[in-house]
Symmetry: C2
Subunit: 482 residues, 2 copies
């Protein structure tokens, strides 16, 4: 029996052959999601939903600890409300789904299904904020939003997607900026500590920033195929929305001031990123702190006396410290091994009559497929807890090492083009003009991903933009991106 | 200072003068919700959202313990999909919000914003169910739905509202029925143990049942004004949807069978019910197990040395066993007392220099306004935990006593009409015809609320329908209802 799992039967496209097809295969075969009858909208199946609920649990806990409160705004907003902030409406109008009828009646004013809720929050803020004593207001909501997309892919880009959207109001620009940065850091920690994903944190260029923002902060990360993904963002909106919606407060001197606002989000896209960073040709690989089931017990020769009993006893014992299930279906162990690999459980435990007799079990790490024989004794909970920790740390390290390896510094535009073609981040000096961004995108497909905080104070005296030869303004991270 | 709170200043309409106005006043002044710019859609403010999150936490925990899994379906469904089950579409078509445009493009087929998701679940069930081994499928989702309503009221009837909707598939009618009943009982417990609301459980009449259901189970409860509210429902849909969507499985003999399905929900409406059962002319009264903040500490003469220190120490100490806040705003204690009453915190603690010197505090129960002096010692956590328990039990008992008192048995149709007019449940024998339901509604405004399980096996031999004199088929609960 034990030999069976060596005979690895490829169930999905290889990620080195067709990354895009591999990705969709993993999403569907690991049963994270399914297509629905509405183009671009997916069904989140139990495991996909549990992954999102896990992100929600972690982020919500951190937000509440830092004084944020949840609210729930309507999913609709009148067209006239969306029109109030010019840049914002321009950014979103092309992708809005419009409700025009309620029952048989045509609406007097059509309603947008929220593509984001800045304007709804602003309308409410105007009603509840009067004095500096009312500030800051730190709100958040967990909802879905809709953007009419032409090309959709599970998790990465769907017409409807789930997110948390934070919206806060502050006395001034600096306080808003502090909030936006604090949230960005919180996202860095969630990526590192839960998703096992390393990120490059920094600032978006003018052309890549959020519609209506003063400053967009971003966490960017590399996928297995070398393309970048913006995994979370946080915006300092300055007083743009404060002014457009006339949200004012009287300061300590009784003077009316505009509020400064922020907004920020993590979305179901982060699940797509997690898949593309960690998974492999056998299927999903879940970081242990994300996995709804951390350990899958697979009984060998389960029809034999006592095997299932030991499996269930083991489950009950381990459940104190981790999430555990037993695969007691009528399938063959070989099938169950493949299924466990496809579903990405961090550890599978194989236990059969011989193991029971010998007083041990075989633990198989999903990330490395390494087999470890462990004694079936009182130390097992600790041993497996430590193994889960190691898996998390190793997954993070591998992703970080790969990101480091795939991050290069270009000295010429030819070198830049070759590096972009090879995949990964390319760091290169840039004069800060949109003309160069357009040119680079046209020629190489790369866009500015962020001005990393590591380079924000770099001394660029004498450094020239690779394309124009003019003085460089920023040492920028570039990449092809999702 | 202490005298101030006696001087109760009426901030809202009295519930005995104008119940409807009182209700809206409580919702708005206790800051549970606010109006939005979309008619019929409300903003759930932090406390309103926390109440919904509390219901979610409790119900979700119970569903997971009974093997249910969460999923997330798209918020849109194509018109053609909605049209598949005739009764169902007839029930919902008049209240559907229609999306007709994505960006600037008119859609080929318009999309309904889900009024409920039976059809989406069915479409998915058809794809994932093949064998009896796949059954039961026990799914649930936490989302909002939209029904275009003419007359809306916060929580009770809003165009968009939040709910959990459970959808399950079973091998046969009996198994589906067991599920529907089990869920109904779970709702009874949540109402009793968390919301402190007693219910009458039973079956809906044919005319009042859910569109597409075989059988609708319901929990009905009485509001302070004597009108009934359907607080939760659970439907056995039989094989209606199984047949309409061709969801089949092969049974143990390899024969194709239609699945039987159920659906069930608790909505933000339950929060409206909670308000209308428990609150009073001073504002909201929150059952302790629902309250986001169970204890509000109000410092007296907080500018005096040490008062705030003691208040915060007390908060930290109590926080181990309950949720506690300190109102250290710059307002006067009298204002804070009224505010605490309006917001409905189950207990407020008053603590000033004299109390500290005497080594005690004053606890005021929100439900009875009773003042209790308690020693500031190590026993305080236990004393307050017990007080919270008493408040819950007393609130439930008062609601139950009132419901009992307002439930009458009518012997004649004149008596029936008078009882309905006076408010409350009226139990009366009914021949089971829709003609009588129509007549009674026309004449008295009452509708059949449910056939209570207490009367489902009642011996009705010789008992006659009050209106037709024909043999009674059911001993029915009637009432005017929300």
């Amino acid at each position: 029996m034990m030999a069976k799992k060596e005979g690895f039967v490829k169930q999905i496209t290889s990620r080195d052959v067709d990354f895009s097809k591999w990705y969709t295969d993993v999403c569907l075969k690991a049963e994270l999601c399914d297509y629905s009858s509405v183009k671009g909208c997916m069904v989140l199946r139990p495991t996909g939903t549990a992954l999102w609920e896990r992100i929600r649990e972690v982020v919500d806990g951190r937000l509440k600890k830092t004084g944020h409160e949840n609210v729930l705004m309507p999913m609709f907003l009148p067209e006239s409300l969306l029109l109030k902030e010019a840049e914002h409406v321009e950014g979103f109008a092309p992708e809005v789904a419009w409700v025009t009828h309620g029952g048989d009646n045509e609406l007097q004013e059509r309603l947008a299904v929220r593509p984001t809720s800045e304007v709804l929050f602003c309308e409410h803020f105007k009603k509840i904020i009067h004095s500096y004593r009312d500030l800051p207001v730190l709100y958040n909501q967990w909802v879905s939003v809709v953007r009419w997309e032409k090309n959709t892919r599970p998790f990465l880009r769907t017409t409807e997607f789930f997110w948390q959207e934070g919206h806060t109001c502050h006395v001034d620009y600096e306080d808003a900026d502090k909030e936006a940065r604090m949230i960005l850091d919180m996202y860095v920690e969630v990526c590192r500590d839960i998703l096992a994903i390393p990120v490059v944190s920094g600032v978006k260029s003018e052309s890549e920033k959020f519609a209506g923002a003063d400053k967009t902060y971003t966490n960017e990360t590399l996928m297995y195929d070398g393309k970048a993904l913006q995994i979370t963002t946080s915006h300092n909106l300055g007083d743009n929305f404060g002014k457009a919606f006339e949200i004012t407060y009287s300061d300590k001197e009784g003077k009316e001031q505009y509020v400064n606002t922020t907004s920020w989000a993590i979305t179901t896209r982060a699940i797509g990123g997690m898949i593309m960073v960690h998974s492999d040709d056998r299927g999903l690989v879940l970081p242990p702190r994300m996995a709804p089931t951390q350990v899958m017990i697979i009984p060998i020769a389960q029809h034999k006396d006592g095997v299932l009993d030991v499996a269930f006893e083991l489950r009950d014992k381990l459940s104190k410290d981790m999430t555990v299930k037993v695969d007691d279906s009528e399938k063959q162990p070989g099938w169950k091994f493949s299924d466990a690999e496809m579903k990405g459980y961090p550890i599978r435990l194989e236990i059969g009559p011989k193991d029971i007799e010998a007083g041990h079990i075989v633990a198989v790490r999903r990330d490395t497929l390494e087999k470890i024989t462990l004694p079936l004794d009182d130390n097992l909970n600790t041993a497996l807890s430590e193994l889960l920790e190691s898996i998390h740390n190793d997954m993070f390290k591998r992703a970080k090492d790969r990101q480091k390896e795939k991050t290069k510094m270009a000295q010429t535009k030819e070198e830049f083009a070759a590096m972009v073609e090879a995949g990964g981040f390319v760091i290169a000096p840039w004069d800060g003009t949109e003309a160069v961004e357009d040119l680079v995108k046209e020629e190489t497909g790369a866009t500015t991903r962020c001005l990393s905080f590591d380079y924000i104070d770099a001394d660029l005296s004498g450094v020239k933009d690779l394309w124009t030869g003019k003085d460089a303004k920023y040492m920028m991270h570039w990449a092809k991106a999702y």
